[in-house]
Amino acid sequence: MHPLNIKLFRDIGKMKGQMVSVSLIMSCGLAMMIMARSLILSLESTRDAYYEHNRFADVFCDVKRAPNALRSRLTQIPGVAAVETRVSGKITLDLPGLSEPADGVVLSLPEDRPQQLNLLFVRRGRLPESGSRSEVVVGEAFAKAHGFEPGNTISAIMHGARQTLKIVGIVLSPEYVFESRPGETLPDNRRFGVFWMNERELATAFELNGAFNNVLVDVAPGEAPASVMAELDRLLAPYGGLVAYDRKDHPSAVRLSDELRVMRGMSVAFPAVFLSIAAFMTSAMLTRLIRLQREQIAQLKAFGYSSSQVGIHYLKFALFIVVIGITVGGIAGTWLGTNVVIVYRRFFQFPLLTFHPDIRAIGVAFFVSAGAAFLGVIGAVRQAVKLPPAEAMRPEPPAEFRASLLERLGLARFASPGFRMILRNIERRPWQAFFTAFGLALATGIPVVPGAMRDGIDYILTFQWDKAQHQDVSLGLLEPGSGSALSDMRSLPGVMIAEPFRSVPARLRFGHHSRRLGVTGLPKESLLNRVLDESGHPVALPPDGLLVSAKLAEILGAKPGDRIILEVQEGQRPRREAVIQGLVTDYAGVAAYMEIDSLRKLMREGPTVSGAHLAVDADHWVEFLDRVKESPRIASLAIKSAVRQSFRKSTAEMIGLIQGLYFSFSIVVAFGVVYNSARIALSERSRDLATLRVIGFTHREVAAVMIGEIVILTLVALPVGLVIGSYLASAIVHTASTETVRLPLVLTSRTYATAVLIVLVSAAISCAVVSSRIRHLDLLSVLKSTE
């Protein structure tokens, strides 16, 4: 090996602690970047391939009842590549091991023609045989949640009739990658399932013989879905068609692209901050090394090494840090990504979702971090190689100092000499002090994020389920019912209060923006399911107009007082202008509310209900559930405590992962920054410190002088860090705030205290490690040398 490279490795060996700590900080940023970029790549490529291979439709539309003969007409719409017509229906399930009923969707599979769109992927078993009876295939997430296998049977109520269904296969569908009720934030796989069965049998069960109620369209490449949707709407309107929508409005597709958007936000900001700190630390460390090796550089040049050879030698130190950083970051990022993919598999159902490391991102990461590190070092290298050898062999002139700002202002009159040393050292190298403090501030800020997330979720739990929802259970009817349906629900065993709700599918338009959602009618002032404002106070529904989620107003670009267009997609499909009377606060999905009677008036209907929110006496709970299972008209049942528990369980896992990640990052940064600046301080001041020891300062007193600087910087950094952390949390909460789920920004003293504690403990350990080195200062050699 070339002697210079031998020198390189020996020098690296001597400063391995510093090298490793800088590399680790760099690898935090790189791990985050590689993880996020790779997850984006994995999710996107898997999704695109799945959508492509299993022919996920581009346009979707529900219709009341259209004759099968219309299918060929739909095929002729310009721009249409393929059309699939289906029967879809809701079913209620009575499952062993589940006291409450579960619900689901059942979709038809064509028997007389090949399936064209939304092809199923058969995981186990087979598809129903043509002409067979009661054979179904079931979505994998639901099957897994209950341990169903081909050959099992389940009891279901389809369109009011109890039936035993035989599971013949476990399948996946591109339209249920996120297998949940439309608009739900987190999947509830125990209580919601998707089924497919033969078209004729299903049509018979739902009284749709020779007809369909659901259309899928594949738009030809290069054609705009908008014109296809408009034509589809026109053709289906006479048959009770709802407004067609494309993938942008498809619940499962939206949930997936929301996740990708969050990841994209994470893949840039975080890594940039980590890399800039690492670049600065590389610079500080190598600048110090070069200064110490001034004479060696002079000798090398005296022997005939060129400036560029010497320069490259020192850049190799930076390269070494980057290589270690990339290696550790790559491994950590891959490991993290693999673990996140495992969590993803629980949320997103793909035939095969594996982690693909984004090689290109690793390449970019390498060049970005190498570039940053080189930029940080190049100045010191140039300065060192510029000096003529004879001059470089002389020791550097003594460092110049002056009274610090505090002293010039007369504020440090009674400060001890030790304290003055500290102040002046900080002021002499303001950038070093700045980046040390900045690094520590960042380390303080990072753990604020998971704390804020955890508290945000706690807040949602309280807000959503303690303040907004006072019901024990919400029942949804299969078909909207009359006033008698409400009194039927009211007379179920144990029901103490029953409040009706009416839900109508609609599209809200304002300017160019529109959103499909259900408009919910509620009593003006309700006891159970309440609509809340930002501070959690119930809002009374106005006799006229709408209350909408703040997020919906943002999506539509509308504000209270604006007149929006309300296109109802049920019944006579009235189209009205309505005024946004106010905003309501919610954290999952988007909603629009009307006073129930004003909605009914709009629909030109009597006391129709879609379901009811109920308060049920706990003593009659079992009896109540049994009766609900027997009721053919009830399509869905949501038990508040169960939903809450499932929400808590699935978020707890995610928060645990994020918390572990952020806490480790914080510790790495705090420890690394303190360790490094203490090591640099020790190296720069070893002569001073040894002198202090010689003239009678104790080990502890000398350590205090060295550590004092870090203590001051830490004390400055902590409050700044808490502010940075609050902004960081706010930015991340904002990035992660999608239409499906939003986190409020909740910052508590517990979060701040945890952050401060993590940094203080890491810094203290790091200081202790370095100050133990003061014991080993070679007092005699330090005094003999001229530095």
Partner: protein, 255 residues
């Protein structure tokens, strides 16, 4: 343990006046120091017997590697002997632990080094105050600086002073605690003749005014004339101890 709780090695009455039987301040018997570097043992001190008395001014002469600095470092509690005994006021320094040696240096010893070893971030006054803050019965920094005639440079940083001025600050720092011992390792080694004289004058002044036992290492035989006794070392042995009948004032020295 706080430094104040460590038992002092020096807790004795002031040095006896002339005429009584004088007890040595330092007493070395068979003092040996072996440095092991790699596979080679270097005997830096090899069985040195020596007594040093309060108020004396001693010059140590010898070639490089003769053991001068090792002897000085052992006297100052910066290094421990490998064999033999070294007592200070009857107390064995060879047996002292780290904290006791720190206490010894803090209370009793002043050091002056060839390269001054001032703290660059502190002014002259503050460099001296560094000592006066921790010493038992110090003089004011201003008083110490006046002794070395630097009253007008008190608020200058080391980088703003000449080598001779820096060395005089170092002397002021060393004597400000009124030490019983002042150890100077080549105090003029980095200075020109004229500056060297002013520095030696400051040391002589401290020795006479404060009655401090002063030990000076030098390569420069001319300086030996300012001493009470001149000790010559070679290869770790004392080869000669010469007593000057009369100390020559530093002012009259020239080299």
């Amino acid at each position: 343990m706080d430094i104040a709780e460590i038992p002092a090695i020096t807790n004795l009455p002031p040095p006896p006046s002339h005429g009584e039987e004088r007890k040595p301040l330092f007493s070395a018997r068979g003092l040996t120091k072996v440095y092991t570097t790699g596979a080679v043992d270097v005997r830096a001190l090899d069985g040195v017997d020596l007594d040093l008395f309060a108020g004396e001014l001693i010059v140590l002469l010898g070639a490089s590697g003769s053991g001068k600095s090792t002897l000085l470092n052992n006297l100052g509690g910066l290094d421990l002997p490998t064999a033999g005994s070294l007592t200070y006021r009857g107390r064995d320094l060879a047996q002292a632990n780290e904290d006791e040696l720190t206490r010894f240096r803090r209370d009793s010893v002043g050091f002056v080094f060839q390269f001054y070893n001032l703290i660059p971030s502190l002014t002259a006054r503050e460099n001296v105050a560094l000592i006066t803050e921790i010493a038992h019965d110090p003089m004011d920094p201003e008083e110490a600086l006046a002794l070395v005639e630097l009253t007008d440079r008190m608020d200058h940083f080391p980088s703003q002073m000449s080598g001779g001025q820096q060395q005089r600050v170092a002397i002021a720092r060393a004597i400000a605690k009124r030490p019983e011992v002042l150890l100077c390792d080549e105090p003029t080694g980095a200075l020109d003749v004229k500056t060297g004289i002013t520095v030696l004058e400051a040391i002589e002044h401290a020795n006479l005014e404060l009655g401090t036992l002063t030990v000076i290492i030098t390569h420069n035989a001319t300086i030996a004339d300012m001493a009470d006794r001149v000790i010559h070392l070679s290869d770790g042995h004392i080869i000669d101890i010469r007593t000057n009948a009369h100390r020559r004032p530093v002012r009259s020295l020239a080299w």
